[in-house]
Symmetry: C2
DNA sequence: TATGATTTGTAATAGGTGAAAACAAAATAG
DNA sequence: CTATTTTGTTTTCACCTATTACAAATCATA
């Protein structure tokens, strides 16, 4: 169908000036995603001539967003060695946060996606009152930016909860006890940061990160699913994160896969989350009321890693329930890849055969080969995704 | 999150020439979707100046794609009356086909979306052999184009089956007996038509049509679901039709909503289709082996329309199963509207209360108000969608 | 009826953007 | 050392839209 946008976004390009902005964005976006590239190669990719590239790259270097390295090291062809354009790291970076109940990750990620440093990870729970939590976060951010010479291009924050798209309001984050918290705005106030602040759901952002830097590279349509206590996910369609009307798209944990199943805390019954979440897994393992879910889980995984039959059987037992939900997602989205994170990573690794078998049994459209891949970024996913979202936001607003 | 595309599509605009093409497309796209618009208004929308608009509109009129009407009829303000730019109908149109087992709709749809004429509707089944069917279709198209003075801008075809995106190959259409049929290519050969030929799944195209011309106007994110013998659908995200990796996205009929349910012809079990399709409804009505499903269904609907308790009860009985699937779709996509077509239209009309009640019970996120709407375009949906896809394709390829 | 205000269309000029072409530079191959 | 290849630079040019000034067409008001 190849159904292109009819009302092509008005802001894209209409006058010569915005044309140039567009080309600058394209160039910098490419550098960010693909890394160092020769000028000529940039020309081939964008369709611009060498002279145009030279001019645009000059502006990028002048602004401190890119550098041109002399002929790098080896040499393949025989002509004049090219100038290599690279995104700048140290001086052009974004600040990324991943907030969770007992951990806050904060890091600087440079253009190009390199994690410059992941500094403070707290292991004390955040204050319960949202205002205090915001104060703590703001302080962490200020401490991080003080040590840097230049301020970040933008900021990204990953949150375990529902985030409204556009204004960065956290509608609800049960684990943190937040409701209707205008996080982006509060952080801007608390830190005095003038650039863009982007807030997003952690699973959606992890999906974005896997797409750009992890198991989903070179794959325009993918589904990312991560199971933990809850089940979250994100969908990339045509290289873009699906947000839905209000930014809540991707709440796949509450997809009903078994109407005869258990009651879910959301009020529903038989949500996927109740079938494949941490509790479901521990139940299968015979652990009904664990003292420390996290530890019990870690032990289960390590036992499976040691090939203990019982542990393996636990994961195998869950594969069918996982496959039911995946079948739905595959039928709905037709992705070229499904990336499994959290609990589903060990499930894929230790019960991959059963999982694939169940999928084949359930799926009605075997013509579509879908790859199942384990997530690559692990616990860093949400933070790296926040960084990616921040970079995108910066690019979109680039003058 | 507002995560914009990082590598902005290269083809968008890089040099002055493509900039102009882009502006022409924007203008014509607006005219197509919004209808007649004054020059000044066009300027406000696109951000272009009056002189630029004048120049661009002149090119559009010269090419026969738009007309400028003198001051229309009334007059509101007090300044000089504006020139109104309108998309041309008669001379700028696309050809749209909707192929089905026993009916082929063919029509001309002008720019602006007006159905100029819906000429031939056959009621004899298409030949079983694909090649013969293609021949029949080609003949119908030629007959339609012969009578016209100018040839269409593009062609669109809706098909009840899986269509691969990009090349217009029908991967499989069980009802028609087609497999791996390069329909777009065959029709181009069979008719000698030089423009673009777009082929798409009927439900996806109906979704597109509802989005642009029906119950989904002004709604950037919507889900369209249509139940018949099978259950099809389409999703619009950010004003664009979701296609997935190969164009199969939207196969929501085979979403498993009841793992303990009936076997589906697709090989799975408990697919939504087996729960809410025609057969399921007739089963509920106590009609197990109908002689004519179509007639039995029509009667059921008309009895419900006449408020016969039994018929109403039949639709009410189905509402829960419908709600289960809708809940999933809503959680996954966060649409602002869900449009119900086919069987689901009467279900909404005659059992709306039960349906909404079940949704409220099942959904875990009552914060999100989602509208349920009946489809507006009815049986014409697929054909009108094919026309819209054809127009989009033409615009995308406009020189 | 005449005049000014308001809105819209038109024409001429200007500024900015990337393309094209010619040339210079830096490497390799022989 | 020369020819070839590849890349960077410079200049010229074509194109697109903005800007500006002005003309046309209507309404409001005196």
């Amino acid at each position: 169908m190849s159904e292109e946008n009819v009302t092509t976004s008005t802001t894209q390009g209409r006058d010569p000036a915005s044309l140039r902005r567009h080309n600058l964005r394209t160039l910098l976006g490419h550098l960010h995603l693909q890394g160092a590239t020769s000028r000529v190669r940039l020309g081939e990719i964008t369709g611009l001539t060498r002279s145009a590239i030279a001019d645009l790259v000059a502006e990028l270097t002048e602004r401190g967003l890119a550098t041109e390295a002399g002929p790098s090291q080896p040499q393949s062809g025989r002509g004049r060695p090219p100038l290599i354009v690279s995104p700048r790291d140290e001086s052009a970076y974004v600040l990324a946060l991943a907030v969770d109940v007992d951990t806050v990750r904060i890091g600087r990620v440079g253009l190009g996606g390199t994690l410059l440093r992941e500094s403070a990870t707290r292991h004390a729970p955040l204050p319960e009152r949202p205002e205090e939590a915001v104060t703590v976060l703001s302080r962490m951010i200020r401490r991080e930016t003080e040590t840097a010479e230049v301020s970040p291009l933008a900021m990204g924050v990953a949150v375990p909860g529902l985030v409204r798209d556009g204004d960065g309001v956290v509608t609800r984050a049960p684990n943190l006890g937040w409701r209707e918290l205008a996080l982006a705005e509060r952080l801007r106030e608390g830190t005095g940061f003038a650039g863009r602040v982007v807030v997003g759901n952690e699973a959606r952002l992890a999906a974005l990160a896997e797409h750009r830097r992890g198991a989903g590279r070179e794959c325009a349509d993918l589904v990312y699913v991560s199971a933990g206590v809850g089940v979250g996910g994100g969908v990339i369609a045509r290289d873009r994160l699906l947000t839905g009307n209000t930014g809540y798209a991707g709440e796949i944990g509450h997809m009903v896969t078994n109407p005869a199943g258990r009651a879910c805390h959301c009020g529903g019954r038989g949500c996927w989350e109740t079938e494949i979440g941490t509790d479901a897994l521990l139940r299968r393992a015979g652990i009904v009321a664990p003292g420390d879910r996290h530890a019990a889980l870690a032990e289960l995984v390590s036992r499976a890693h040691g090939s203990e039959p019982e542990a393996l059987e636990t994961f195998r037992g869950m594969s069918y329930a996982v496959a039911v939900g995946l079948t739905n997602l595959i039928n709905i989205f037709d992705p070229c890849r499904v990336i499994l994170g959290g609990l589903l990573r060990p499930t894929l690794l230790y019960a991959g055969e059963e999982l694939r078998g169940a999928l084949e049994e359930l799926r009605g459209l075997p013509e579509l080969p879908v790859e199942l891949c384990p997530a690559e970024l692990g616990e860093q996913g949400p933070m790296l995704g926040a960084a990616e979202a921040a970079v995108s936001s910066f690019l979109a607003g680039m003058e």
